[in-house]
Symmetry: C2
Subunit: 227 residues, 2 copies
DNA sequence: ACCTGAACACCGTTCAAGT
DNA sequence: ACCTGAACACCGTTCAAGT
């Protein structure tokens, strides 16, 4: 009967599993950003004492590894009915879509020191695309270095303008740029005409990502044909 | 006289300046890694109470901005006596050398949300190389997106194998790879023959960086000539 | 044997009390 | 008016005491 009361009190006291821990963590990070994801807050969201998490995850690093695995799991498998270039291109764009759904994911991926089996499997199939596509071992290796994190669908932007967008401060920066950074000013002022503001997120990130991706894929293809 | 004792006790009690704070912080990070750089430890290294730092730096974020500025300050200025391609190539390689001297720097740069004036000036002169080299505004913009952080001399490696290098665990991973990740195995086992171990840091990072850089510069040059 | 509250050893930063 | 010790509100994680 005390059991009954407990059950009612905690409603359907779902047992804590690694999967539920990870799912809740992804949710928390999606909602409040990765910096708001602490072991303590995660425990609270799961209605559990912090120490209970350590049954399913050795430490926070392992939790972060798990989050990356969840995101990689959302990437479509590689097509097997086309050439290497199309298959790689489409898969990378699928990876990019997964990362856009979880804006914290690329930063967490950067911070990992050792690849998980899931990440290794992803890499292995990517390399497989090249090898079965006729690339030599050497060229494959160079290509991997060239693509870097782009293989996982992201690239290092120069500055992550997550834009707190204080319009006053922005206008001021704008003014300063014209004088002291003429070339930056020139670019920004002409590029972002399509958007509402003169400054702001005036460029098409998707286009720019594909531009760089294709420049690399084309360059890589040329090297392959030459060898 | 009590003054005299104090002076002797603290020896040449150098006054705290922003520059001395930054220099010590760079030193600390160089020596013990960026994760060992806390406001408290920095204060201790300067033989000062933690709060004293806040006179020279508004918060830790500003300290990190300052560190990035120090590193950018070590990059050679752009040559003015060559074509855009050579000037850009050499400057990026100079930036890379600066980053190699401070292994924590690229990670700190990634974490900055807003560029400092020093970073903006660097970017402005980089863009200037392209513009005076005959690039259209549009192409210049695309190039910036393509190069991304490479402009600052670094690229996202797939995994930062800072190698704790537990040889036993490494051998085990090696064994697992052959079976479950055949393509990764194939690459690693053939590439790193030049080095001592079969695994290990068997590839020439400098070569790989330049390979990718040149692939991009060549692709960019081709686009420019076409337009 | 299992579970967990309290504690530890840290953070960055605030603020009021001291000089 | 300046300086700073103590305190605050957090962390991730250990561990011994409780059941």
């Amino acid at each position: 009967m005390s059991t009954e009361i407990e059950e009612t009190g905690a409603l359907a006291r779902v047992p804590l599993t690694r999967e539920r821990v990870l799912r809740t963590a992804v949710d928390l990070a999606d909602r409040g950003g990765i910096e708001s994801l602490s072991m303590r807050k995660l425990a609270q969201a799961l209605d559990v004492v912090p120490m209970a998490l350590y049954r399913h995850v050795a430490h926070k690093e392992e939790l972060l590894d798990g989050l990356v695995d969840v995101v990689i799991g959302e990437i479509d498998p590689a097509r097997t009915d086309t050439d290497w270039k199309t298959a790689m291109r489409e898969r990378i764009l699928s990876a990019r879509r997964a990362l856009l759904r979880h804006p914290w994911a690329s930063r967490v991926m950067e911070s990992r020191t050792a690849p998980t089996p899931v990440a290794l499997a992803y890499m292995d199939s990517m390399i497989g695309l090249l090898r079965t596509g006729g690339f030599s071992l050497e060229l494959t290796h160079h290509v991997l270095h060239t693509m870097g994190s782009r293989t996982f669908g992201f690239a290092q932007e120069l500055f992550n303008d997550s834009g707190d967008s204080d319009p006053e401060a922005e206008a001021q920066m704008w003014e300063a740029m014209a004088g002291t950074y003429p070339y930056i000013y020139e670019i920004f002022s002409t590029i972002s005409h399509d958007d509402t503001s003169v400054v702001g997120a005036g460029c098409d990130d998707q286009f720019e990502f594909e531009f760089a991706l294709d420049l690399m894929l084309d360059g890589i293809e040329r090297l392959k044909d030459r060898s």
